[in-house]
Structure formats: structure tokens, C-alpha cells
Symmetry: C2
Subunit: 109 residues, 2 copies
DNA sequence: ATCGTCCATCGGCGATAGACGATGGACGGT
DNA sequence: ACCGTCCATCGTCTATCGCCGATGGACGAT
């Protein structure tokens, strides 16, 4: 056990934060769109999403701040791209959580 | 491709809903606690969480409604237990999403 | 019958999320 | 120089979240 009582709390907060970034349909859709064309401008996403430009921009910002999407300013055209590693990392974190919950291979009867 | 345009939207909503249930530190902690002792009363969680009983009860309800925790009323003592399958299912969904985002082994130039 | 415990639910409150339109800056084209 | 496009940010509005205390129902014990 490398987990102290407080670090478990911190862990929970950390994973909760990342999952929160993913817990919105629009953001999931955005991720799919981004990955579909490897790199997207905001406009591209807006066209596809049926949301106002400002709203999409905000969602993108949230994804960037969560570290799931990388942003690169290309002149006036913004370029957003999925950070595959980070995304995989979140998935791994969740898997880890699930495993820590599921196995419990300690007999107790 | 077995995905229609609308079903993709529905997919996003479905996974977002489940992830939302997981995107709160307290609920993560609750899951850990539940799995630690295989089955918990509300009281047990309250003692451990440093939150009001009503608050914990609400979080438990959210987890139950998300299908991640099963509820069984045992007399006056409530019994909550992690639904390992459901939890694994969410993890699988996320993994699937990540994979659908990452690989993209289609050359396009 | 009465009390104590456990718990779900209600009502209220402050904070936050999510949506939008408007604004203004940066840039390309004419 | 003047538009048109793209985009981030701001301000605003509403709905929802997260928390709490209070309430009341169900049950066990005395």
C-alpha cells in the first residue's frame, strides 16, 4: 500500500476532475470530431456541433485545461488536437479505480 | 461502421451520463468505501466521509441511478454495494472511446 | 407505548455549469 | 484602407449541483 489517507482523497479529486471534463455530451462529440480529422479549427467543430461558436470555444477551453486536448494557434485559425496520451491516461486511471474496487480477492467468511 | 449519426450522439450522452456520476470526489471515495467492505450501510459511509448524512444519501442515490451501485433495503439498515459489472462497463466504454479516438490508422495525404 | 437509531426526502442557499449574443482583436483578401 | 472571417473573452441568464438542517417514516429495544 503506497497510499496515505490524504493521498487517497487527492487521488479521488484528481480523477474526478478529469472525468468531469469528459462528462458532457458535447465534449465527447468534440473529442470524436477532433480525432476524426486529426486536427481541427474551432469553426470546423462549430459547423458540426450545432452549438454557438462561443459555447464550443468554451468547451474546447475546458478540454485544453483538463489536458486532454492540445491547442496550437495557427495564425487566425486555431488548431486543436486530441492528446492521445492524456486521454489514454484518464482511461487507465479509471481502469485502475475499477480494478481497485472489483477484485478484492480477500476471502472473508 | 454500425453507427448512425444520431446513435453517435446518443452514445455520447450515455457515456457522459455515467462519467458524470463518477466525476465527483465524494462519489469516488464512496465507491472505494463500498468496495472495501463489500457492502455498506449509509451510516458506515457517513462515518467515513465527513459529510452530512443527507448529503451522503444523495450521492448514493446518484450512484444507484447511474447503475453503478446496487441498493438493497435490509430492514432499516440500507445495504449498498458496488455493481462491479456496471463499473467495468463504464471503464470499457471509456476505453472504447479512447481507442476510437487514438488509432486512426488511416493514411490521408 | 416510548425512545433511539437509521435513512430518504424536502426546502433552501450559494456556487457553478452551460448556453447565448455581443464585442473586439488578429488576419487575409480586395 | 476597408471588409469579411475566425476566434477568445465578457456579461448575462437560467438550471443544476452540492451542501446542509429539519422532518418524518420504519424499525428494534426496553
Amino acid at each position: 500500500m503506497t497510499e496515505s489517507p490524504e493521498s487517497r482523497c487527492a487521488d479521488s479529486r484528481a480523477i474526478a476532475l478529469r472525468l468531469a471534463a469528459l462528462s458532457h455530451p458535447a465534449r465527447i462529440e468534440i473529442l470524436k470530431r477532433l480525432s476524426a480529422s486529426s486536427c481541427c479549427s474551432c469553426r470546423e467543430v462549430v459547423d458540426h456541433l450545432d452549438l454557438a461558436q462561443s459555447t464550443v470555444s468554451q468547451h474546447l477551453k475546458i478540454l485544453v485545461e483538463a489536458g486532454l486536448v492540445r491547442f496550437e494557434a495557427d495564425r487566425q485559425r486555431s488548431r486543436y488536437a486530441v492528446d492521445h496520451n492524456a486521454l489514454a491516461g484518464v482511461s487507465a486511471l479509471l481502469t485502475e479505480l475499477v480494478n481497485s474496487c472489483c477484485p478484492a480477492p480477500k476471502r472473508q467468511d
